[in-house]
């Protein structure tokens, strides 16, 4: 095991333990009522998680995108109770642009999409072309209703307090690409969680005198779901590795693919896990929807499947049939 593998393993264990101990349906429901998870965030900060992607010489943990994907998957397994992923990306962009780090929650603004927990942010970070911009203060204009019901706010137009040029490897759409990778990874994690929940439920719930998981009709559904879960996990790991090797801009194909595959898996698997949970899963009381609503949120956020598919599809059409396989294997 290399040092970076070690570091990743240690960090993952910390994140898993923190979320297992401190998060859960009650906290997620409180989030949806607009109550900021203060204690959980404070612990995440104490562990140095928000600056995990910042290089060590700038006071971070110096993790790569592949490591980040693993952390974001862990977040997804717990329905992402804090906007840690967004803050990690924002801090990484600031550092890459040579802007001094800011303490506290950093919001990530991508295009015109609202900023998760923007109202609690110490500052909002965005990119424009190859420039990273920092706008101090919270985003306060409440965003539209969303699947997750968690607070999301738009930043008022303002003059940035700082701006910096990103290295070429980040490309002109760094916030969008990193945001898409984050959402795909969270979906991959949430998919694992809902599959596990549903297998447990199918083995517990009895009808016709036996657990419904014993019926082939249910088994076929869940096996299909398992394939999608595996595909999403591989797609996001592949995208993270590509970003480490070629930078965010150079990993556009893999990030787009991850968002497409994870988004498709979110749709397919949400349908399956709800079907197996039946009426119980349709209730507010059961925690399943705390995950599935967020999966629907994340598949829409930072480019839905359609948008990313069009992008890579248009390029492939331009490159033509003779380059299709060579391009695919060059990845």
């Amino acid at each position: 095991m290399s040092d970076t593998d070690d570091l990743r393993a240690i960090l993952l264990e910390q994140v898993e333990r923190l979320l297992s101990d401190r998060s859960g349906p009650d906290l997620l429901r409180a989030n949806e009522r607009g109550e900021w998870p203060d204690a959980l965030w404070a612990e995440a900060e104490a562990l140095g998680l928000p600056t995990a992607l910042v290089p060590e010489e700038r006071g971070g943990a110096g993790l790569g995108w592949g490591d980040a994907v693993a952390v974001w998957q862990a977040l997804g397994r717990h329905a992402s109770p804090i906007p840690l992923g967004e803050s990690m990306v924002a801090a990484a962009l600031l550092a890459a642009g040579g802007i001094a780090p800011r303490p506290g929650l950093l919001g990530l603004a991508v295009g015109r999409e609202p900023v998760a927990w923007g109202r609690r942010a110490a500052a909002v970070v965005m990119t424009s072309g190859g420039i990273v911009l920092l706008q101090p203060g919270p985003a306060t204009r409440q965003g539209r209703a969303s699947f997750s019901r968690e607070p999301a706010d738009h930043a008022a137009p303002g003059v940035p307090a700082a701006e910096g040029r990103l290295p070429d490897a980040f490309g002109p759409e760094a916030a969008l690409l990193a945001g898409a990778l984050l959402n795909a990874a969270r979906i991959a994690g949430a998919l694992e969680a809902v599959l596990d929940m549903t297998v447990d439920y199918a083995n517990t719930r009895k009808q016709f005198g036996r657990p419904i998981g014993g019926f082939q009709a249910v088994q076929q559904l869940l096996a299909r779901c398992a394939g999608e879960v595996a595909a999403a996990g591989v797609a996001v790991a592949h995208a993270g590795r590509a970003a480490d090797r070629r930078g965010l801009a150079g990993a556009e194909f893999e990030i787009a693919s991850a968002k497409v595959v994870a988004g498709e898996a979110a749709g397919t698997c949400a349908a399956i896990v709800h079907q197996v949970h039946a009426a119980m899963g349709f209730t507010d009381e059961h925690p399943l929807h705390l995950f599935t609503r967020r999966m629907w949120e994340w598949r829409d956020g930072h480019g839905a499947e359609r948008a990313w598919a069009r992008r890579i599809g248009a390029k492939a059409l331009e490159r033509g049939g003779e380059n299709l396989w060579p391009d695919l294997t060059a990845r």
Partner: protein
């Protein structure tokens, strides 16, 4: 999903030259392959092509040099497989020997069997078939009834096998046969054994079966007092079921489980440029193809490390089969009979038909999903 792992793997750096060599070879060899040839690919059969592949050292690549093998890595072999499939090369005459029969002989065969068979598989000379299904035993394979009775010096086989791909063109088959009655109906997996059977042995009748495309791809084989010497029993008598299922990790996770219809996408692409819906559809197809390739590579990597990724292999086959099977219909929605070149339409037509087999061969989708469900812990 506890315990399920897909660690990303790269094809090795030294494979770049190999890949370039393959592409040059296949571009030349494939100049006149018809849409039908490409549509059948690894179910197709071209002895001359297989001999040429053998001459170039691309069969038995990972096997010991003592048996003619190339002693190269599983991931280098993976490069050869995926390059062949990506263009729909007619690899059927060596595919089964390279993928299944050879590895089985290498692992469990006698020294004599290894020396007898492996070098001739490597050279592309010997073509193998797999004798599993029977008229009354498909998905319920262990219920098979074709039996081998002990006689002096060997075994006497009676019964029937069916759906045996290309058996009428092959030299040998590895047949799973009943050598002793099952102790009780619940233990029907016991008492099975594997044999190397000469497809031209006396008492064997092979009747080709026309498939829905109009080709003679598979067969019915009748065994009428066929004698097989003791020396051609493979592995241990009575352990045929475990031996045969251990092969499945090799059989189920290769690139042939998602690439079967890719030649159609390659052929169709240029003529989809003016189709407004094409970018989205093509993008979705590519996103999946790239992901399936990483899944399949991950399993190849585990095999290289000496692991038995049976669970992962079953998942890759299931997701991959869905993908390759849907592709011809997906592209159909983008094609315009007035504009799409005749050869592309022909390939689309053939693949629409051949694609029915993708979720049948190597274990039906339903059986596979049953296996996956049990691995998930559903009972």
């Amino acid at each position: 999903m506890a315990g399920l792992r897909f660690d990303l793997r790269d094809t090795p750096p030294e494979a770049a030259a190999l890949r370039a060599e393959l592409r040059a070879f296949l571009a030349e060899a494939g100049r006149n392959w018809s849409p039908l040839v490409r549509g059948y690919s690894w179910m197709g059969f071209d002895r001359e092509f297989s001999r040429e592949v053998g001459r170039r050292g691309w069969i038995g690549m990972t096997w010991p040099a003592a048996y003619g093998g190339g002693e190269r890595t599983a991931l280098e072999r993976y490069v050869v497989l995926e390059e062949m499939l990506a263009v729909g090369a007619p690899v059927g005459a060596h595919w089964i020997g390279d993928r299944q029969s050879g590895p089985l002989i290498l692992r469990l065969g006698t020294e004599e069997q290894r020396r007898e068979f492996l070098p001739r598989i490597v050279s592309g000379e010997l073509a193998f078939a797999i004798g599993l299904s029977e008229p009354d035993s498909g998905s319920d394979l262990a219920s098979l009834r074709t039996r081998a009775e002990k006689v002096p010096g060997g075994w006497r086989i009676n019964g029937r096998k069916v759906w045996t791909t290309n058996a009428h063109k092959c030299d040998f088959m590895i047949a799973l046969l009943r050598t002793s009655p099952a102790p009780d109906p619940k233990a029907k997996h016991q008492g099975l054994s594997q044999f190397l059977v000469d497809c031209r042995a006396s008492g064997i009748t092979i009747r080709p079966i026309l498939d829905l495309v109009g080709e003679e791809g598979f067969n019915e084989i009748t065994f009428d007092d066929v004698f097989v010497p003791d020396s051609l029993l493979v592995g241990q008598e009575g352990h045929g079921w475990e031996q045969a299922t251990a092969e499945l990790a090799f059989e189920r996770a290769g690139p042939e489980r998602y690439l079967s219809s890719l030649p159609l996408l390659t052929a169709a692409l240029d003529d989809l440029r003016s189709e407004p819906a094409a970018p989205e559809t093509v993008g979705r197809l590519l996103a999946r193809a790239g992901t399936l390739r990483q899944m399949s590579l991950a399993v190849a990597g585990m095999l290289q490390d000496g692991k038995t990724p049976a669970r992962e292999a079953a998942l890759v086959k299931d997701v991959g089969n869905d993908y390759e099977q849907a592709l011809p219909d997906t592209l159909r929605d983008l094609m315009d009979p007035a504009r799409t070149p005749a050869e592309v339409q022909e390939m689309q037509r053939i693949m629409t038909m051949v694609a029915r087999s993708y979720s049948l061969r190597g274990g039906t989708r339903e059986i596979l999903r049953g296996i996956i469900a049990r691995q998930l812990g559903l009972r």
